[in-house]
Amino acid sequence: MMDFRLFTRSVLLVTEKNMRIYYYKGAVVIFGLLFPFIMFLTFFIGRNLDIIIFFPAFLGMMLFFSSSSTGPLITPWEKREKTYERLLSLPVTLESIILGDIFAGSLFGIVITTIVWIGGSLLIHLPLKNPGLLVIALLLGAFTFAALGTLLSSPAMSNPSNVMMVSNLIRLPLIFISGIFIPLSQLGDWEWMLTSLSPLTYLVDLFNGAINGNAVYPAGLDIIVLVIVTLLFILSAKLIQQYNLSKGI
């Protein structure tokens, strides 16, 4: 039977290490803020759109990008620097490393997105219909997409640039099929089908419900989908990393 206290401590210490080494870097913070911001401006400028209606989608995109941006690189970096074996030899388990990576990504995503939400509230007087739902969306969305980042770091690659390519290949298309640039309520049947396959759709819908009160799906459904997807990401990451370890470090 695993000692829960030791396990929790190992998760928090892996999180601390990740924050110190991989997230507290100017370039990472700037990239985390700038990339989604520029993406949004590219779409928004020159079109006669209501910023209040589109802001929840922007928040969803911020949270998605910031939570999943650095996670894919951590394990490949550690394998390349040969610190992965040092980490594994400390009082940790594979599960605590995976959860530590997810917590670090989540924290980063939550901080960045909160800054953007505060900025939005001050500058454009963003409404807030359901504060509780906003908190749930923030926490759950951060955890889901940090788990996606950790899953993307799991294949046996030690070259961060290869990982980044695969990561962007998966993350970028998700933005276009998640009701970010076109509201879910304006989508046709087949487009609706497509968007329902993306977990980001449900996060954007939660933000829509929390901020504007105009969600398409019931909040409960969004939450259940995100929880299931998160569990699948974590389980897949664990199985892949376990398989890789069985083949050596």
């Binding site: 000692d3 401590r9 080494i21 400390l90 940790v92």
Partner: protein
């Protein structure tokens, strides 16, 4: 009491069997040397013993705790220097040590005190706040050792801890291993440096091609190779090899300006050499009987297997 126990550990990577049915028992307070040539299976074994790799078959216990069933509890009992001795390059020397100490539940005061102590012992006090990225290999290895010993663990696993180090760093590492052992830590050391094993270890196992082929104290291992007893003799004149094909000399090898004569009966061989010199009017410059070195025992054990 056995502190490190491995029962029938095996591990394959694809069709390659890296470790084949290895069993080990290391008693409390021992310095156990795990010797073997490159690729023999030393690192794979240590990785299974420390819970980094899961064995295909077999089990391992540290202080009686199964490393694969209760990894966190077992790892709390050990400090490890992995192969290459890597540490986090983006952290300072002190941050690496303090972060590691947190895993072992040390409070902030004892963490700080122990880090001060170790940094001073390892000659790194003045570099404590420097980022490790700028350190030399020897200094990084010292930080790696500092991380391993910070919790004063009952068991220390060291994978090639002196590989590629300069004389000063190597001496510091060896002294630290000895001190930790004096303070009660059981040490498991993999190396292919025979002299290091001879100098440090109380018991040695030799592994080759994934299998343990000999175990014993360094002296016992050396003595088990009786046929490797030899005498070394130097003549003033050059002497043909054929001259030594008598008196139970199993092999004669030139070693610099000397001949090394392997024999089961060194006394008789010395007498024969004196006779030979007398009859052939040869002048003996030096003559000495020798027991085999650990290196010779190791080479004989591993060659041709």
């Amino acid at each position: 009491m056995e502190i490190i126990e491995a029962d029938h550990l095996s591990k394959s990577f694809g069709s390659f069997k890296a470790v084949d049915n290895v069993s080990i028992a290391v008693g409390e307070g021992e310095i156990f040397g795990f010797l073997g040539p490159n690729g023999a299976g030393k690192t794979t074994t240590i990785r299974m013993l420390t819970g980094v790799l899961t064995p295909d078959t077999g089990s391992a216990r540290i202080c009686g705790i199964d490393i694969h069933k209760n990894p966190l509890e077992a790892k709390m009992k050990m400090g490890i220097i992995p192969e290459n001795g890597t540490v986090y390059s983006d952290l300072t020397a002190e941050q690496n040590i303090l972060w590691t100490a947190k895993f072992y539940g040390m409070d902030s005061i004892s963490r700080k005190k122990r880090a001060d102590e170790i940094l001073s012992d390892l000659g790194l006090s003045e570099r404590r706040d420097d980022i490790v990225r700028n350190f030399s290999k020897g200094m990084r290895q010292r930080i790696s050792i500092a991380c391993a010993i910070v919790p004063s663990p009952p068991v220390l696993f060291l994978d090639e801890p002196t590989g590629g180090l300069d004389v000063f760093s190597r001496r510091l590492v060896i002294d630290t291993i000895r001190r930790m052992n004096d303070e009660g830590s059981t040490v498991f050391l993999t190396t292919h440096n025979i002299e290091e094993a001879n100098e440090l270890c109380t018991i040695i196992s030799v592994i080759n091609k994934g299998k343990i082929i000999a175990t014993g104290t360094p002296e016992k291992l050396k003595k088990s190779f009786d046929r490797a007893n030899y005498i070394e003799i130097a003549f003033e004149q050059s002497v043909p090899k054929e001259l030594f094909a008598r008196w139970g000399i199993s092999r004669a090898e030139p070693h610099g300006d000397k001949w090394r004569l392997y024999t089961d009966d060194p006394d008789q061989t010395v007498k024969y050499c004196a006779e030979l010199a007398d009859l052939g009017h040869l002048r003996i410059l030096s003559i000495a009987t020798s027991t085999p070195t650990l290196e010779e025992a190791f080479v004989q054990l591993t060659e041709g297997r």
